[in-house]
């Protein structure tokens, strides 16, 4: 019984997207696809423990969902006394012969740039990831009804505005792949460093889901360097998850982490991906560069053993692609290890990041290392006021408490 339950859960993870995607293409309707896929899995939960697991679970689910969909369309057609248009989503010719998978169409539809970012995230988790509406609502601390409405509205817009169910044309493809990766990275980051103080600091469910989805997209777009780069970046980040928050719920910085607790298997997989990308000789995009930076970190025995000149060189490459202040802030953190905190502070102080907690946390740390305790304390105060993540706040408060020079109290 539990074996069947486990098998159904595994089948759900493996087959959900395929069932939804196949139905969406056949019936041109995401509502029908989603509901009938859910019904088929509910039927499996009911029938499989009694009848035994079918030899090909995926095919059984698709067939069951397909039959249900036809029944429902017939019922509705009779009720409305007119035949329902079979295809409501546009089904125009395939632009890319080699890439043809319904799941890929589904991914691109869910991550369409005409939808709001939070909607893309919710739709992707629901239709591609197979998370339930309550699960998604919980993950983003939104009311279930609000999350349900967000997904319903999105499906209505897809239908009314005719967001196509297909892989984008060659000219649109690079920008659209970038859009898909942004959605996946956002899901990962929300799991890795929840922005809301009401959440657990690190949530393995979301990071695992983001990695699973990225693996799927990588299987569908195997030649795309940035997809490989994002997967490597996630794996090398996820590998350090267990070491990242202490037993007392405090964030542990890279330098203080127990590197023995890092996941060697994930690191090996991430390194292999980075090496394979380097071997292509193609110019890397931002995810590949970020993955390479993380590869340097996960290659080192400790902070001092880290090849900081390599890290700074990679950040230089990243700044050329994306000269945003946040990238330059991260570069400055590496510069502090290579050229000292004074040089780094001079760079940090030029950045327009007054409202960003990491800016103040970085300044606080650099000022502390320079022995400027009073200014460091003020920077910690600002960082603590702006930080949302509980583990990070706990870390910052402890570091502030360790400053030796107390400011004059005035009493």
């Amino acid at each position: 019984m539990t074996d069947v339950g486990e098998l159904i859960a595994r089948t759900h993870r493996a087959e959900w997207a395929r069932v939804v995607a196949t139905l969406a293409r056949r019936f041109g309707d995401l509502d029908i696809a989603e509901e009938m896929a859910a019904e088929a899995f509910a039927t499996a939960v009911e029938r499989w423990p009694l009848d035994g697991v079918p030899p090909n679970p995926g095919a059984w689910l698709t067939t069951t969902a397909h039959r249900r969909a036809i029944d429902r369309i017939r019922r509705e057609a009779r009720r409305e006394e007119k035949h329902r248009e079979a295809l409501m989503l546009s089904d125009t010719p395939e632009p890319l012969g080699a890439i043809d998978d319904d799941r890929l169409r589904l991914v691109f539809t869910c991550c369409h740039p005409a939808l709001a970012m939070e909607t893309r995230v919710a739709l992707t988790l629901r239709l591609v990831g197979g998370l339930t509406v309550p699960e998604i609502a919980h993950a983003f601390l939104v009311q279930e009804t609000a999350m349900g409405q967000r997904i319903t509205r999105a499906k209505a817009k897809i239908k009314a505005a005719r967001i196509p169910y297909r892989v984008p044309s060659r000219e649109d493809l690079p920008a659209r792949v970038t859009g898909v990766l942004a959605v996946l990275y956002l899901i990962f980051n929300e799991g890795y460093l929840a922005s809301d103080p009401g959440q657990d600091a690190v949530r393995g469910d979301l990071t695992a889901e983001a990695i699973r989805l990225t693996r799927l997209v990588r299987a569908l777009l195997p030649a795309d360097g940035e997809v490989a780069g994002l997967l490597a970046l996630m794996l090398l980040t996820e590998a350090r998850r267990a070491a990242r928050v202490s037993t007392s719920g405090e964030l542990v910085t890279l330098g203080e982490q127990d590197r023995g607790a890092w996941d060697r298997e994930l690191i090996a997989e991430g390194h292999a991906l980075v090496r394979a990308r380097l071997a292509t000789g193609q110019a890397p995009g931002r995810y590949q560069i970020l993955a390479a930076i993380n590869a340097v970190h996960t290659d080192a025995r400790d902070l001092r053993d880290t090849d900081w000149s390599q890290v700074v060189a990679l950040y230089d490459q990243l700044v050329r692609l994306d000269p945003s202040p946040i990238v330059r802030l991260n570069r400055a953190i590496a510069v502090a290890e290579l050229d000292g905190p004074e040089v780094a502070l001079a760079e940090v102080d030029r950045l327009p990041l007054e409202g960003y907690h990491a800016f103040h946390a970085t300044r606080a740390d650099l000022l502390r290392r320079l022995g400027r305790s009073v200014q460091s304390r003020a920077a910690y105060d600002r960082a603590i006021g702006l930080a949302g993540n509980t583990a990070e706040t706990a870390y910052l408060i402890r570091r502030r408490g360790q400053l030796t020079d107390l400011p004059p109290t005035g009493r």
């Binding site: 546009s90 125009t92 369409h112 740039p113 005409a114 009314a160 505005a161 005719r162 967001i163 196509p164 984008p168 044309s169 649109d172």
Partner: protein
């Protein structure tokens, strides 16, 4: 094929410049040549508008636009496209040609 309204958004009553008009003409010709053209037009400034309520007995006329807003619709296209991706590409070209932001909205389907 579906139809979309492309509204041109603008925050002043200045008319299109000669350069903008020339670019719009090129874009219009392209819409016609590729079978996307339905209709297009520029609108006079919002203060020339009259709001009419004819729902109940004698119609009531009110001077001025129904909404005072910073931005208004300065003109529009109605285009025909097989799906939103094509419509988005056309709307982007339209925005570039008239040098203003545009809003894309689908007509109700049958």
């Amino acid at each position: 094929m579906a139809q979309y309204l492309v509204s041109v958004l603008f925050d002043s009553n200045d008319l299109a410049t000669d350069e903008e008009m020339a670019a719009i003409d090129v874009f219009n010709e392209q819409l016609q040549a590729n079978g996307h053209w339905v209709f297009a037009g520029g609108l006079a400034s919002p203060d020339t508008a009259t709001v009419i309520d004819g729902r109940d007995g004698q119609p009531v006329f009110t001077d001025g636009p129904y909404l005072e807003s910073k931005e208004h619709v300065a003109g529009f296209w109605i285009i025909e496209a097989p799906d939103l991706d094509v419509a988005l590409r056309l709307a982007a070209q339209g925005s570039k040609s008239c040098n203003r932001r545009v809003e894309l909205r689908p007509f109700l389907g049958e």
